[in-house]
C-alpha cells in the first residue's frame, strides 16, 4: 500500500510517499504509527475520530469509516484540509 503523507507530517516520514501494510484504513494507520511513532495521534484522536482538518481519500472517495477495506497494492491519500489560518 502506497500512502501519500501531507507536508505537515513529513517531519515524521521524511518523504511524501511511504509504504504501509494493512487490509483496512485503520490497519494501515496502525502500521504507519509503528514505522513513524506518534504520527497516528496527529491525525486520529483518542476516540478514533479523524481530526477536524485531516482528510483521507481512497480512489477519489473520502474515507469516513476507518474500517474501510483496502485492496493490496492500492493507494491511500492523506491530506490536510486547507482550512484555518
Amino acid at each position: 500500500m502506497r500512502v501519500l503523507i501531507p507536508s505537515a507530517l513529513h517531519s515524521y516520514t521524511g518523504r511524501p510517499w511511504v509504504e504501509a501494510q494493512g487490509t483496512t484504513v485503520a490497519a494501515v494507520l496502525d502500521d504507519l504509527d509503528r514505522q513513524f511513532p506518534g504520527i497516528r495521534f496527529r491525525m486520529i484522536d483518542e476516540q478514533g475520530r479523524i481530526r477536524r482538518h485531516i482528510r483521507l481519500f481512497h480512489r477519489r472517495e473520502m474515507v469516513v469509516d476507518l474500517g474501510l477495506p483496502l485492496p493490496a497494492d492500492d493507494e491511500l491519500m492523506i491530506v490536510q484540509a486547507l482550512s484555518g489560518g
Binding site: F41, R42, E46, Q47
Partner: protein, 382 residues
C-alpha cells in the same frame, strides 16, 4: 515573609508563541540576550517549561492548526527534541458521559522535588494528566476527567475561553506532594489533600459575573492562581472578576483588587509573585469592559505592583508606550526571575518581549515582531 538566596546563574526566557518557541539567554547583567529559535516554527506552543529539579529537561506543549496535540521533550536545552511516546489523551467514554478528545495541552507543571520524574498537565477541554517518567508517557490523573459533577462544572466549549476551556494553574505544595490545587476557565479553583484521589472546590469569596449565582461552581472563572514560593500557605489569584488573596488554612478568598484605581479595574490574566516576599506581586490589568476588548485599558499599558499583599497598588509604566498600544498579556506570559532586585518579564499579544531589571521600576523592550506570545517562563539551566 522575606527570604534570600543566590540566583543559580543567568536566566533563560522560554518564549512560547502561536507560531513556535524561542529561548532568550541573558548575560550576567541581564542586559543582552542571545536568541535561540525558532523551535517548532508554525506550531502553536502553549507552554514551554524547564524542569527546575534537573535544570536540563524541557517540555513543550505543541500542536498545529491542522494536526492533533503532542508534547516534545529535550534534555539538551532544545538542541534536539523527542516527541512524547504517549501525549495526554482522554480515556474511552465512562460513567455515561460523552467521550472527549484533547484539543491542546495548555499547562505544564513539574512535580515536587521528591518525585523527580513526575509532571502534571492541564488541557483544553479541561483535563488533568500526569507523567511519572519525565514527560514521555502521560495518563489521565484523578477522577475528575470523567466525574459527572466535574463534567457539569467544566461547562461546554461555549462557556470557556475563546480558544477553548482550560485547566491551568496546577500547584503542588512543596511540603506535601499529596496537596494539590488546580484552576479552570471556567470551573473554579479546586484542592486535593489526598494526592488527587479526590478534589473539592475552593471558591468561597470569589465573585462571578453580575446576575449569576456564585454557588454554581461552573460560573467561576479563575484566570491564574499562584502560591508564594516561600510561603505556600499564601495564594493569589487573578480572576475574571477581580484579584484575590487566600491565606490557608482559611477558605475564603479576599478580593484585594478593589484597591486598584477604578478607571483601571482589577480584570486581567497574568499574576506574578515575588520569589522571596509573599507580600509583593505584579499584575497586568486589561480592559474587560462591555465586549471585553482584551487590550490595555485606554491603550496605555501598565503593570501594577503591590508590596503589602494588595492593600495598596502602584502603577509601573516607565518605558512602556504612553498611548495607542492596544496589546495585552496572556495568563502565562508574565514571569519573574530570582535575582535581587527581581527581574520581571512579559510577552505581549502583539509579539513584544519586555523586561524590567528593577522590579517594575523601568521597562525595556527586548524583542519585537515575534508571533503572539502565549507563555513566558524564566529558567535557570544547569
Amino acid at each position: 515573609m522575606t527570604t534570600h538566596e543566590t540566583p543559580p546563574g543567568n536566566p533563560v526566557l522560554l518564549v512560547a508563541t502561536r507560531k513556535g518557541a524561542w529561548l532568550y539567554h541573558a548575560d550576567a547583567a541581564r542586559r543582552t540576550w542571545r536568541v535561540d529559535g525558532p523551535h517548532f516554527l508554525g506550531h502553536i506552543v502553549n507552554h514551554l517549561v524547564l524542569d527546575p529539579r534537573d535544570g536540563r529537561t524541557l517540555l513543550a506543549a505543541a500542536k498545529t492548526g491542522h494536526l492533533g496535540p503532542t508534547l516534545f521533550r529535550s534534555t539538551d536545552l532544545g538542541q534536539t527534541w523527542q516527541e512524547a511516546a504517549k501525549p495526554p489523551a482522554f480515556g474511552p467514554a465512562a460513567n455515561s458521559l460523552d467521550a472527549r478528545a484533547v484539543d491542546h495541552t495548555f499547562w505544564l507543571a513539574p512535580g515536587p522535588a521528591g518525585e523527580p520524574d513526575v509532571w502534571y498537565a492541564g488541557t483544553s477541554p479541561q483535563g488533568l494528566f500526569r507523567s511519572e517518567d519525565g514527560g514521555r508517557h502521560w495518563a489521565p490523573f484523578s477522577c475528575i476527567n470523567d466525574d459527572p459533577q466535574y463534567r457539569h462544572w467544566f461547562g461546554t466549549v461555549q462557556d470557556g475561553t475563546p480558544d477553548g476551556p482550560k485547566l491551568h494553574s496546577i500547584i503542588v505544595d512543596p511540603r506535601d506532594p499529596r496537596h494539590l490545587y488546580f484552576a479552570m476557565s471556567g470551573g473554579g479553583v479546586h484542592e486535593s489533600t489526598d494526592g488527587g484521589r479526590s478534589f473539592a472546590p475552593l471558591v468561597d469569596g470569589m465573585e462571578v459575573v453580575a446576575g449569576f449565582d456564585p454557588a454554581e461552581i461552573a460560573f467561576h472563572d479563575p484566570h491564574c492562581v499562584r502560591a508564594c514560593p516561600g510561603n505556600p500557605d499564601r495564594l493569589y489569584q487573578q480572576n475574571h472578576c477581580g484579584i484575590y488573596r487566600l491565606d490557608r488554612p482559611g477558605r475564603r478568598w479576599q478580593r484585594i483588587g478593589r484597591n486598584l484605581p477604578p478607571a483601571i479595574g482589577d480584570i486581567g490574566f497574568p499574576l506574578v509573585l515575588h520569589p522571596r516576599d509573599d507580600r509583593t506581586l505584579w499584575v497586568f490589568p486589561m480592559d474587560g469592559s462591555d465586549v471585553w476588548p482584551r487590550t490595555s485599558p485606554g491603550g496605555r499599558p501598565a503593570v501594577y505592583a503591590t508590596r503589602d499583599g494588595g492593600e495598596t497598588w502602584q502603577r509601573q509604566d516607565a518605558g512602556l508606550p504612553a498611548d495607542q498600544a492596544w496589546w495585552t498579556v496572556k495568563r502565562q506570559a508574565m514571569t519573574a526571575d530570582r535575582h535581587d532586585p527581581v527581574g520581571l518579564y512579559f510577552g505581549t499579544t502583539s509579539g513584544e518581549l519586555w523586561q524590567s531589571r528593577d522590579e517594575g521600576g523601568h521597562w525595556e523592550c527586548v524583542a519585537r515582531h515575534l508571533p503572539e506570545i502565549y507563555a513566558l517562563e524564566t529558567a535557570y539551566p544547569r
